[in-house]
Symmetry: C3
Subunit: 317 residues, 3 copies
């Protein structure tokens, strides 16, 4: 594995999932693999889980970590090639990336879609620039289109917690007071489609996810019907596709409640956090023993560690 | 010791003071105690001494350190339980704390009182939330009510520098152009009351400190009388209690000057810094050989190290 | 070497250059020299190269690093001695520096000139305060007057890349949409004057650099004439001296282009970055094989490492 930005970068998903689950058992088993190697973590927006879990994973491998809050610690970046840089941007992204590549061994970057124009967000310009100009492996800490570290974590959970051979996994849209990215939902779909599960996605009309990631999934507009006999319910809000980036009518009947959960087969509830409590999901569901939200938090560390370890092993071949 | 948020968390104060003074002699005596352990330091307001001294103390023990500036690096936190999170806050504090607890071994938090309502500040909601939700030991890096790392430092100084069995220790209010918290003064009182000293507190009327921390202290409204024969003079401004959070008439006659110091028994001067020079205390007093202000700075490192070491030893029992 | 703030701090420049070039060959040759030593890096403005390269250099030597963004992580600093601190500043710089000196072994500071008054910038007050009050060695990460880590890097490049005994080195002014400091240009001149080269500086009238750093250099106002037979062309914009801090008429004919480079003897192009592409230098020159801009980036790490290593060896004698 050279880079880690999508499920497409992973040649053997099961192997990577199992590598993560092994680190869960023994976080320090490769405590010297990253000695004298440096991970650079670049953030263009707030992050708590990703910041902490990835840094901890790097420490577990003995790596050094350098954090940069791009745009505040550093300079304003020019994105376009060939520009006469006579205005506000202070450094071309290709120069900034060359600089970071020079001093570090692995580069990781967190960007955030503007939520103004879906096709522009879909181009994922920041991440693409890193893949184009970096001379070292690139890890996405969430891009404008996908969140592969979260999805690998979620696949580790499905693998670990399933009690039947082919569980029913339901990804359900949920209400939110703000327009939030489609990134986690698309990414969950991209990865879940590689798993041996019965995969159903449910959302109101007008909230269709990106078709390129949906292929094997059943789309069901009736949430109650979708939830029937579910083994896992993955809750996530995302912005409308029809009115992209706009806050929609809240669809408050889509909130996941104790009553809704009764339709399932005692399903586990998952959410990547941060969660709007009592808007996306009620407290009693989130704090119920069948909630896996904090277990997802825990496994983020070992997903990141598996990815870092794989890249340290193979990334420079 | 599980947590460190008040003198009440300490079962044997003398032992902890001596542990700190031993680290002063040999900072690297437990250089591997914290190997593969991670300290998370969370800041909700600026910090220089605390940030540096605690991080250095952790390094002395071989720990990893992760710094987070809450509210800028991370998400806006919801403090109330059961809220329908339909507004501005992005993550519930209980979820954020669970996340941090997951990846780290010790959590430390610096908050700052709003200085609008004394009883609300007195509830110390942020720190209480950490104590309620964290699964790991919690260290206060200064809360809305107390600053135990500073006070432990100050007790180490009293222990180390006293030349008579029972010295006279005077805590005096001082002028300041802004309303500043009562935190350091309350905390100094809480700890000094556990020491074998003659303890006098002096301040203008209307600046009374929190009664729960005052018990053995003599309150003297006449500053000159209070300073008589003092062995240690601890200077600190704090906001009025009567007009809480408001800037008061400056009481400029309360500034500690060379003339005021002549009333004492060649007392040492202490201040926790940052100090408003020539407002709280004059330059000639702060920069005089009997000033302990930089010695206090130095011992902050070893106070933090004693606390971290104790928690590493006993915190998870 | 006690401090590193100017070429004047270096007793043997060739030795330091060679030390840097040796670290380039083997970055980990002194991997334990800095064990249990702490470098504090203080930033008063954005930094990417300096932040990353210096931190990496410290890691190569096994040091701990503490980063502080002054003025946001910490308190507003009072610069004047004897002030009655009754206004906006919260901590006197001498107290802040004593604090940092206490916990760290080497202090490094990046400041930025205000570009309002040339003689005030020339006083370099921030750096001078650190030299006055710090009890530990001080490294300039770029001050209001000089950028010695960049210049040492550039001297390493001249040493490594020159193909004739005494190459012609041309420092040329370039256009820029903003007024930018004269710091890098002055510093390059200060160091280049110590090298065995034919040194020419070219700029429009009114952009004269600081005379104290110019001594051996030839000043040539005709850029084309200056570039003739050059072996190295060092490009950098700086603010007008006549209209200090103001954006000048762009002098767009001073942009370094492929045509301009034809006047040289196949010269290498250097720029310290960040560069305004197609304003200071065109893309085709910056991205040409004779461009050394990324090589300069690489050697910044080893320049910093040579300086840190020298100070660790000799700084506390």
């Amino acid at each position: 594995m050279k880079n880690f930005t999508s499920v497409k970068d992973v040649s053997d998903i099961k192997y990577l999932i199992n590598k993560g689950l092994e680190f869960k058992k023994n976080p320090l088993k490769n405590a010297y693999q990253g000695k004298n190697k440096t991970l650079c973590m670049l953030f263009m927006n707030p992050s708590l889980r990703t910041r902490l879990s990835t840094q901890k994973a790097a420490y577990n491998l003995g790596m050094n970590v350098i954090n940069i809050n791009l745009n505040s610690d550093s300079w304003k970046l020019e994105m376009e090639d060939g520009t006469i840089m006579n205005f506000d941007t202070q450094e071309h992204i290709k120069d900034a990336i060359k600089v970071i590549s020079t001093y570090c061994d692995i580069i990781s970057i967190r960007s955030f879609p503007e939520l103004k124009n879906r096709s522009i967000d879909g181009e994922d310009k920041i991440l693409k620039s890193f893949l184009k100009y970096a001379d070292i492996p690139v890890i996405s800490l969430e891009s404008n289109t996908l969140h592969p570290l979260q999805s690998l974590t979620d696949m580790m959970i499905l693998t670990e917690m399933k009690t039947i051979r082919k569980p029913k996994v339901v990804l359900t849209w949920a209400p939110h007071p703000k327009a939030v990215p489609q990134v986690v939902a698309n990414s969950f779909a991209e990865w879940t489609n590689e798993m041996d599960v019965d995969f159903v996605i449910t959302h109101p009309k007008g909230f269709e996810l990106d078709e390129q990631f949906m292929h094997n999934a059943t789309i069901e507009y009736n949430q109650d019907k979708a939830l029937e006999n579910a083994d896992f319910v993955y809750v996530k809000s995302w912005t409308s596709t029809e009115n992209y980036g706009q806050v929609s009518d809240l669809h408050s009947d889509w909130t996941i409640t104790k009553e809704k959960m009764k339709l399932t087969d005692n399903a586990y509830v998952m959410h990547c956090l941060p969660v709007r409590r009592n808007v996306e999901v009620t407290d009693e569901v989130l704090d119920h023993p069948s909630s896996l939200i904090y277990h997802q938090v825990k496994l983020r560390e070992f997903a990141a560690q598996a990815v870092l370890s794989e890249i340290l092993t193979n990334g420079n071949n």
